[in-house]
Subunit: 235 residues, 2 copies
DNA sequence: AATATTAGGTGTAAAGGTGACACATAATTT
DNA sequence: AAATTATGTGTCACCTTTACACCTAATATT
């Protein structure tokens, strides 16, 4: 039995334990700019940082990341994915800490009201960030890369949209993600050809004269698309 | 100063530290089958496992993964990439351990001779694995998915090829990765159209009657291709 | 009431890439 | 000298992508 192997235990006891933290890059889209949610955590009043917390003894990493996200936003069922583990020996000057970064995509509208007051949370443009704690700027940078990479291969952008949205709104999101200006005609054709959107009868009022039709995601098809992506790649 | 903030330190002291391990999924290709290098580590004589080790106080995660890979294979400058952190509370029954898994792609020819004897290392087909320690089977599974995903979008397959190789050999690698049989004519057209290969004058002898020309990777262009992928995606 | 304005939405044609398939070629074996 | 076997080039139909033009709906202006 491994469980009680004496050499094994000795080998374990020689090792140094470290603190394990989780940090979340919470990305949102306000209709114009790609934004990241930053907080002033507890006692670190001077510096903006990512929302984070410690791994508890009874949790998996995913559970911990979800818990921490919930503590700040009150949201569950959020798109949340492990990004990368950061383990530079000096990344946290107080004590050696390995941080597992997660990135979350949320619908800003959902959020607004529910934000916990305890953290002085605020949305910042990802292209104009304040100085951040530790290596959190690296984490944000990597998350943008990951978002660009994924959004190019998977219909992941919907995670940042409200329940109903227009094609021009979605185009603005992709413009913001890639910092460019896609052709509206080709963009809408490409998006609609995925068959993942359901056109609603309702039009958006106020923003433009003509008004654009609202769409919503066909959740069943969307789920299927995300899941079948891997088999699909291999022809 | 954060460094000496009293509340801060108190907060840190309440936390539980855990052991941090690294495990490497070392993938190779022998010309026919995609293989993973497994070991019988130290005292765990009964079970095959991934090569792994503990994070040392002075190392980054990448450094630790490289060190551990070197200990087994004697190789440096290997394609090595962080895969995922695994942190189920009970994944290691002896004590709570968070393991950061890395996946490595190596040229089997390189390896052969240099393998350390200390670990009883052996290559196994990824499609026919023995029972593995802890959650190592999950790690291997995830690494195959990642490899399939990446190889579909990036010219990463070359990492598994020897310095010079033929197009039919490369096709066999892709056949093995995707468990399929690509059309040789379309495959070679697609590969050559990347402009990443340099044709050599030399032909492979012995394997077939006609013999296939050897190619090698244009390393400058390859490096550029890997790096420029992100900007490239956004048109 | 008529016209101008503005953003939404549809259409189209050229160019490029992909997939399915046939055949010529080089070198070894018989 | 003929047969064999895997290499490597060629072609054609089809689909996707790109670039660009114009019509439309609804509000704003005169």
């Amino acid at each position: 039995m491994i469980r009680t192997h004496p050499h094994m235990l000795a080998q374990y006891k020689q090792q140094h334990p470290y603190l394990v933290a989780l940090d979340s890059i919470i990305l949102g889209f306000d209709g114009e700019t790609l934004r990241v949610l930053l907080v002033k955590r507890g006692v670190e009043e001077e510096t903006w940082s990512l929302m984070g917390g410690w791994l508890q003894p009874d949790e998996t990493l995913d559970q911990a990341a979800n818990r921490i996200l919930y503590e700040l936003t009150g949201l569950t069922n959020v798109y949340l994915e492990q990004l990368h583990a950061f383990g530079d020996p000096h990344r946290d000057p107080i004590t050696r800490t390995v941080s597992v970064a997660y990135f979350a995509l949320i619908k800003v509208a959902d959020d607004e009201s529910r934000l916990s007051d305890a953290y002085q949370a605020q949305w910042f443009s990802v292209y104009d960030l304040p100085p951040l704690l530790f290596d959190h700027a690296d984490m944000v940078e990597l998350s943008i890369k990951r978002l660009r990479y994924k959004a190019a291969h998977q219909p992941i952008g919907f995670e940042l949209m409200p329940e109903k949205f227009t094609i021009p709104q979605l185009k603005k999101l992709y413009d913001a993600i890639y910092n460019t200006d896609f052709d509206k005609r080709n963009f809408s054709r490409k998006i609609l050809s995925t068959g993942l959107l359901i056109k609603l009868d309702e039009k958006q009022k106020g923003y433009s004269k003509k008004g654009a039709f609202y769409y919503q995601v066909d959740k069943a098809k969307y789920q299927q698309a995300i899941e079948s992506l891997l088999s699909f790649i291999a022809n």
